[in-house]
Amino acid sequence: MLNLFKIEWLKIKTYRTFWVLFLGFLVFYPVAFYLTAYKYMEQMTSSKSLEEQVLKTLVDPPFVFPKVWQSAGWMGGLFFIIIGMLFILLITNEVQYRTHRQNIIDGWSRMDFLKAKFSMLIFFVGVGTLLVFIMGLVVGKVFSDPGTDMFTNIHMVGYFALMAALYLMLAFLVAILIKRTGLSIIIYFAIVCIVDNVLWLVFTLKDSQAGYFMPLEVVDSLLVNPFKPKLMEKRTVADYTLVIATLIYISAYAYIIIRYFKKTDLKT
């Protein structure tokens, strides 16, 4: 796997679009997260209005331990969509320039090609998770009272890793099936931003828990919006159930990808 990753790295290390999007995530997410935390804390400490005081009691402070882990993961997820787009691009580029054919002709098996891309997926998830951990730690340290327990809720970082993996597996699936860069990205965004949320809403309005098992909502529900008051949370499904469901989704996507790519003709 490491060998395959090294070859993938050769492919992208001088690819400008890769660096623009990758650095975009590495820079914008931490800056946005820190600034949001800063502004929020500033407002909370200075506000005297009744409205804001009420809100304060409804919502746990999102940027201090232990909730900061959830906030870091949730906001990391928003920015990680950039990486989803980048991952799609890296796969559809291969199809567009027929380099996926050439890789096979040169002696990779079709599984080698998929494994190489999967090694990139692990790389992105790893980097993203590390960044979420660092941001949680830094922001938590800055805004929490000294001596606050840091490690309660740190499993939220693990939830982020799971979320990142599921989002990229979906991107992988869309890219392999659709092949065209533009269309793949549009479909990916449609699923991420619209389809999944609409399905969730429909089920939740019907007072059903099924909405929490939608393809992406399953993991989004583990890292909910930290600004959302607890009273609005209607989920009764346990975290571990959603973790298992997420792993099932990841396996299902992997199964479809492998089955399709092993049997398909490699055309553009």
Binding site: Y97, D106, K263
Partner: protein, 285 residues
């Protein structure tokens, strides 16, 4: 492809010949595991095909496929790594195709001919014993074409087996020792070039002729016994006939029928004649 079956003798330059759309690239795509088949099998060097085996075959399929934002050299590094070969062969292969000077330039800045050269360089990585070229002289200038043909002959002299698909008959005739002719996915004939040329039961020859009124000439020739085919071409008529019909006989027949020929040219029997006999004059598309 419909029941195409043949074997390629080692140390030959084996041409796969066919009109546009006949299935040459499809055939090569199948043996490279790019295309999946509903039935049939193939072997490389007598063994069942594996992914590993392809690492030891140099293949150029259809168009050069490289990462457009990487230099020629970096692209070859990727190919070498996939093939499990060292990077120290890259300089040699780039020198062989005269691309060493431009090795640092990005692939998308290359001309069509340079892209083709890079693709050929890539096939030479690790000095494989089997090479597969699909239209290897595509996009090359006349000097480039001659160089690549010499390279192919040279590789063959070194004992390599070369499989080459082409629709350029002249190319196949100049370079190949063996040939298979495919049309609409069906194998029409296969064997050494000399065998294929001489197995036309009648040993036909091609004769070009013309007169002031070519229509009248065609009508007249249709009366003559023994001709295999008559077709109008650009500036005259081509006939294919058995060797025993001589130019004199044709000249006399025309003269006796009131036609004076302005041109009468017996062409040596070429692969082109044979190819057209086999595939007909219609393109498949």
């Amino acid at each position: 492809m419909d029941k195409v079956s043949f074997s390629v003798p080692s140390n030959t330059v084996f041409g796969i010949l066919g009109p546009n759309g006949s299935g040459k690239t499809t055939l090569l795509g199948i043996v490279m595991d790019i295309l999946k088949v509903s039935g049939g099998s193939y072997k490389w060097a007598g063994n069942e095909s594996t992914d590993k085996m392809r690492k030891h075959i140099g293949t150029l399929l259809e168009t050069p496929n490289f990462y457009h934002y990487l230099s020629g050299e970096d692209n070859l590094k990727i190919a070498a790594k996939i093939k499990g070969k060292g990077e120290n062969d890259i300089e040699r292969v780039l020198q062989t195709v005269n691309l060493f000077e431009r090795r640092k330039s990005k692939f998308n800045s290359y001309s069509l001919g340079m892209k083709q050269r890079l693709a050929i360089a890539s096939t030479l990585l690790g000095d494989p014993d089997i090479l597969v070229f699909d239209e290897p002289t595509n996009g090359l200038d006349p000097a480039g074409i001659a160089e690549i043909r010499d390279l192919i002959k040279d590789l063959n002299r070194q004992g390599k087996t070369i499989i080459m698909a082409s629709h350029i008959l002249d190319e196949v005739e100049k370079v190949c020792t063996h040939v298979a002719i495919i049309q609409k996915g069906v194998l029409k004939t296969v064997g050494s070039v000399s065998d294929v040329l001489n197995t036309s039961g009648t040993n036909a020859v091609l004769i070009e002729l013309s007169a002031t009124d070519n229509k009248q000439l065609t009508n007249t020739l249709q009366q003559m016994a023994g001709l295999e085919s008559i077709s109008e071409v650009d500036q005259g008529i081509e006939i294919i006939c058995p060797e025993n019909i001589t130019a004199e006989q044709i000249n006399k027949f025309c003269f006796d029928n009131g036609i004076i020929l302005s041109k009468l040219n017996v062409k040596r029997k070429s692969l082109e004649t044979r190819f057209l006999e086999i595939t007909g004059k219609q393109s498949d598309r």
